[in-house]
Structures are given as C-alpha cells and as structure tokens.
C-alpha cells in the first residue's frame, strides 16, 4: 500500500481543463434554452454532479462488495472515501437543484422533482452511514458493517426511484418537468464535457482523500506500535 499517489494531480489536471472548457462553452457558445432561458445553463452543473454522485455511491458499493468477498481490509477505506465523495457531491446536487427550482418555479424546494427527492433520501441514508461508522469501534467489524450498509444503499437507489414515481400517483401529479424539448447536439456535447470534468474532479478528490486517510491510518498504527 503505497502512500505516494500521482493519480490525484493527473485527474485534477483533466478536471481543470474539461470543466473550464465546459463552463466557457456553456456560457458563451451553447444556445440559450427557448423554454427556460438563461437559467437552464445550471443544467450543465447540476446533472453532471448528480451522475458523479451516483458513480461515487456505486463505486463505494463495489468496493464494499470486494471487501466482503475477499476480506481484504484495504477496500474499507476505499469504500468509505467513495461514499464520502458521493455525499459531498450529493449535497452539491441538492444545493444546485434548490437554486434551479427557485429560479424556474419560485420555490426553493419542490416535492415534484424526482431527482431532488431521491437525493434527499440518499442524503439521509448516507448520513446514517457516517453515524454508523462513528459509533462502531474501528476494526474489521466496523469495515464489514459499513460495507453491508453501503450495499443496502446501492439497492435503495433504484427502489427509491421507483417508490418516488409510484408516490406521484397519490401525492400529486408532476406539474413541472425538465424533459422539455430534445437536447441540441451542442448542448449534449457541453453536457458530456462537463460530466467528464466532474467525474475527473471527483476522482482527483477521491485519490487525495484516500491518501490522506491512509496516511492517517498508518500514523495511528505507528503510534500504537511505539507506545
């Protein structure tokens, strides 16, 4: 387990280039949305953030599965860091979603927006994940329990999505929808650029955070060994 890590800066560079390009194009090149006007441009931030958060949760669950499968403790930190990143990006999704809702519909929160409601549920779920980690003593047991809970989370995502769709049958109909007109090719291009940039940013942060956590663990072990 090497503490040296060159992947972080490399991904950071990719993220920097792609995000700068995506934002520049989103502001100056892409045509303004006919329906929603200028504010639609937050789409190029909001949706990539959401996709990145899903990717982080999925990555965390995959590492959790590897941990249970192989019983190798190195996967624990990887899973934890991925979930950590997912929560940070999830909070950003909630914030950008709230801003978009405020501009489009004049309210900060709308229960009619499925993605936002789903992220609220996931936010609650993964906050409980942190509570769980904090209230169990560090060790293989903590790693396994967290892994089991992270696996529950990745199953909860599609089930909750289905539940939210079903709940619209009796809570209220969808008044607002964002699936407006088909995306123009230029919009889709900028969206892809932004998505790649955001995922690269998450990966860079993941590597930085992971090496920090590994260093922390190593220090603790050394301190224990010498005392």
């Amino acid at each position: 387990m090497s503490l040296r890590n060159n992947l972080g800066p490399a991904f950071a560079l990719v993220a920097f280039t792609f995000l700068i390009a995506a934002f520049a194009l989103a502001f100056y090149w892409v045509p303004t949305d006919a329906d929603q006007g200028f504010s639609q441009r937050i789409f190029y931030v909001h949706v990539p953030l959401a996709l990145t958060a899903y990717a982080c949760f999925a990555w965390g669950a995959w590492k959790a599965l590897r941990l249970l499968w192989t019983n190798d403790s190195k996967y624990d930190l990887e899973s934890y860091t991925a979930v950590h990143m997912g929560v940070i990006f999830g909070i950003l999704v909630l914030v950008t979603g709230a801003i978009w809702a405020r501009i489009s519909w004049g309210v900060w929160w709308s229960w009619g927006e499925r993605q936002l409601v789903l992220f609220l549920i996931l936010f609650l779920f993964y906050c409980a994940y942190f509570m769980l980690r904090n209230s169990v003593d560090a060790g293989p047991r903590q790693a396994r329990m967290s892994a089991v809970y992270a696996l529950f989370g990745v199953v909860l995502i599609p089930i909750s999505f289905l539940a939210i769709r079903l709940s619209e049958n009796f809570i209220h109909p969808v008044v607002f929808t964002r699936d407006g007109p088909q995306m123009a090719a230029s919009m889709f291009f900028v969206f892809c650029l932004s998505t790649v940039g955001t995922i690269a940013l998450a990966t860079a942060l993941y590597h930085v955070e992971l090496s920090g956590k590994r260093l922390d663990l190593k220090l603790k072990q050394r301190r224990k060994a010498y005392s």
Binding site: A128, F152, L156, L162, F170
Partner: protein
C-alpha cells in the same frame, strides 16, 4: 440427497431459534405489550394532532398516513429490542459459534419479529377501524407484505446497532431512509383505487431486501 438433509437441518435450526425467541418473549413479556401500548397510544395522539374539520376524502388519506407512521414506529420500537437479550447475555457469541448457518439466525429472528408485529397489528388495525376509518383488504395485504420487508431489513440493522456504542439510538437513523419505499407502497395500497401495483412494489421490495439481508447478515454478527 445430502442437499435435502442440509435443507432439513436448516429448517430445524431456524425453527429452534425462532422458538427460542418466542419463549424468551413469553417469559419476559417485554416487547409485545410495549408495542401494543405504543401503537394504541400513537393512534390516540394522532387523533389530537389532526384538525377535525377536514373533508371526507382528505380525512381518509390523512388517517391512513397516520396509521402507516404508527405501524412503522411500532416496528422500530420492537426492533430496538430484538437483539437486547443476545447482547446482554453475550448469547450472540454462542449463536455465532453454533454449528448452524448464520443466515438461520437472521431468518429465525425475522420470523420472530414478524410474529410480534402481527400481534401488535391484531390490536392496531381494529383500533384504527374503531377510531378512524374502516380497513379494507388491500390495506391488510399491504400490512402483511410490509411486515416482511421491515422485519428483514430491520433485523440486520438491529444486529448492527446492537454492536454499536450508541445502541438503540442508531437503529431509527439507519432504518428510516430504508423504510420510505415501504411507506410509499403501504399508503398507495391503502388510499388509491388501484392497489395492485403498490402491493407488487411491496413484494418486490420484500424479495430484494430479503435476499440482500439474508446474504449479508453473516458479516454483521461475526467478530
């Protein structure tokens, strides 16, 4: 042939373990009376929490919402007690050492929790019908399906929280986000005209989470 013997052994293990939980409850009478009192108390509190002059349809929807909240909280109350005996008497170590599949522990505990929930609902549903609204078949079916899902997930999480420092505090936090789909399915089955899709959704939830709980329980209880 050996597979058949193993399967029969598994069923025997589950039956013995479930009987142990039933016997413990019969002797101590801790959990079920508490659940009964809680669910009736919650319904009475809800009567005062809801404004009286609602139109009929709104009142019906709100009442069923309250019923589901009451049932969920009652289940959480029961689940917080699910592994107390195992923890206090260090019984869980013996169970893990026992020569049976660890998932049998989960299945037995889930069956016990479902049985406790059924007892609580045997009082709660008539009480609800008496105080609020008549209960139809779809609601009863939804309650039965929801019991399975909530007991399956709750048993794993109860074992998790029993091993944590914060104990009972942790369980509701872990369980509530996972219980949201159950509430959606339950309320949908109770208040809409087409309960079939909601019952199907509850069955899907039960199947998915029963499988994942059954297969992961082992990792939660082993040291």
């Amino acid at each position: 042939m050996t597979r058949a013997i193993a399967a029969r052994q598994y069923v025997c293990d589950v039956a013995v373990l479930a009987r142990k939980d039933a016997r413990l409850e019969l002797r101590s009478r801790d959990t079920v009376p508490a659940m009964l009192l809680f669910v009736v108390g919650a319904l009475v509190v809800f009567h005062f929490a809801v404004p009286v002059d609602l139109d009929e349809e709104t009142e019906r929807v709100v009442s069923f919402g309250l019923l589901w909240v009451a049932l969920l909280f009652t289940a959480i109350l029961g689940l917080t007690r699910a592994f107390v005996a195992e923890r206090e008497q260090r019984l869980i170590d013996a169970l893990v050492l026992a020569p049976c599949d660890r998932s049998a522990i989960w299945l037995a505990k889930t069956l016990a929790v479902v049985a406790f929930l059924l007892l609580a609902e045997l009082i709660a549903l008539p009480a609800f019908a008496l105080f609020f609204e008549p209960v139809d078949g779809a609601t009863i079916a939804a309650v039965l399906l929801a019991n399975i899902g909530i007991a399956a997930v709750g048993t794993v999480l109860s074992a998790v929280s029993a091993a944590s420092r914060t104990r009972e505090l942790l369980l509701p936090l872990l369980l509530l986000p996972l219980a949201i789909p159950i509430i959606v399915g339950g309320i949908g089955a109770s208040v809409t005209d087409e309960p079939a899709q909601f019952l199907a959704f509850l069955a899907l939830y039960d199947a998915v989470f029963a499988i994942i709980s059954w297969s992961t329980f082992e990792y939660v209880v082993t040291e």
